[in-house]
Symmetry: C2
Subunit: 237 residues, 2 copies
DNA sequence: TTCTATTGTATCGGTTAGATACAATAATAC
DNA sequence: GTATTATTGTATCTAACCGATACAATAGAA
């Protein structure tokens, strides 16, 4: 096995990390990206560090872009996690062991880290997930079937979902989670996935149409034995 | 003049700071705490650094407590500011010059800092503001009469107010800004100060009473020639 | 006693969301 | 062709809520 280089200390701001809750919508369900460190059984959110001459937002954008291959990403900051206990030497040592790395107790990656959590919304269909050197498994997980995550990453997911819910009406969240054209039912599915509750179909349709944010296109014939729904796209403001 | 010690590098996490937008309500208007560095004409939000073995939240709490003398503080995290350009060597050099400090270009305080912004709500009447060693002026400023603030502190104030507005109904913000007993008009003034707009008196009263969060006490006789308002306090949940 | 400003509450009208109803329709079964 | 079926788009009814208005109940001054 190749001996992989760890991130170098001097490139990055010490004690500072970011983590991203990357949301995608597969047509039915909300999913997030989780990676597994090679052969360690440790699951984590994708994250990274901030370079000394790099804006925080840009660091996160680059990180998500590298993982997903996409450039059209809606990023929002959720919360900064700064508990002094958020460190776990065992996890990193397990990871290093697999890679035949020696790591000393005073290695900078074993320090206490403050992490800024973001959520990202992007088009599920266009993504090809890229594992990095330290992780050989990266994939989409349903919110209800998450593996156990390291540190406080589970809490990050909760916080991200909470912030996403609050932003839902205001920030036109649907845009990035759906393909360009979609049906009203698709949009309702996105809303229901995010809010984690059923919505009333007729009221939902009425409310969305009243917002005057959609363009109605041709019908979508699915081959099913019932009235075909219209396709919509978002009005670009 | 006494030569004051600067914070020591090794005590704190480098490149990381917090700043606090401390809100108080003087009965009429919303105010925030701003400090001025001695004889420099530089105004800033109160802030500080995080010790290596200290929770982020605790650091902010301690800082606000030290400045205000209060222990009953409602703290909420607003946003983390991580722009690479948020540094201003001139400011710190001006401050040090006044104190006859020599400061080198590579001093840690001149580095680029990421700052986590919090807002704090507390009882205006109970506060005695404490300037620290580097600032000889600390005071309450109305939101509309803020002096020019260093770095992105003005943006922090905007963000704090925005988050406060969003949290208003949910987090029962009024509690910490008012004395134990208050009139409906006092509470409405708090709401109007935060939302920066006039509210309809009768609708406000109806909405608040419907929430069932207040206890009605005796009337408050102000000596004015009109019906005396009731005093209320918050129900403790 | 009258007057004035403010408070507490009730009522009316408009808006919004949930519930229900129903027509339109795309494909299938016959 | 015609009936059948599931889904969609829209209209209508009702309950909840907010702004606007009205008005009675004061506490003190004139």
């Amino acid at each position: 096995m190749k001996n992989i280089a760890l991130p170098k200390k001097d490139d990055f701001i010490p004690h500072l990390a970011y983590d991203a809750v990357i949301f995608g919508f597969n047509g039915t369900e909300l999913k997030i990206v989780v990676l597994e460190y090679r052969k360690t059984n440790h699951f984590a959110l994708p994250g990274g560090f901030v370079q000394h001459k790099q804006n925080l937002d840009d660091a996160v954008y680059q990180g998500v872009k590298n993982r997903t291959g996409l450039t059209d990403i809606q990023l929002e900051q959720c919360h900064t996690f700064g508990n002094q206990k958020r460190r776990d030497k065992k996890v990193l040592k397990d990871i290093c062991k697999v890679h035949d790395h020696q790591i000393n107790d005073d290695h900078w990656l074993l320090d206490r880290f403050i992490s800024i959590c973001y959520y990202a919304l992007l088009n599920f269909e266009e993504v090809t997930l890229q594992p990095d050197e330290l992780s050989d498994s990266i994939g989409w997980y349903s919110l209800h079937e998450l593996p156990e995550l390291i540190l406080d990453h589970k809490e990050m997911v909760s916080k991200a979902l909470e912030v996403l819910q609050k932003n839902l009406d205001e920030k036109l969240v649907g845009m990035n989670l759906l393909p360009e054209k979609f049906t009203m039912k698709d949009l309702q599915n996105v809303y229901e996935s995010i809010l984690q509750k059923k919505l009333v179909r007729t009221a939902f349709q009425r409310k969305i149409l009243a917002k005057d944010i959609l363009i109605r296109h041709e019908k979508k014939y699915t081959g099913k034995a019932h009235k075909a729904p219209y396709l919509y796209s978002f009005k670009l403001v």
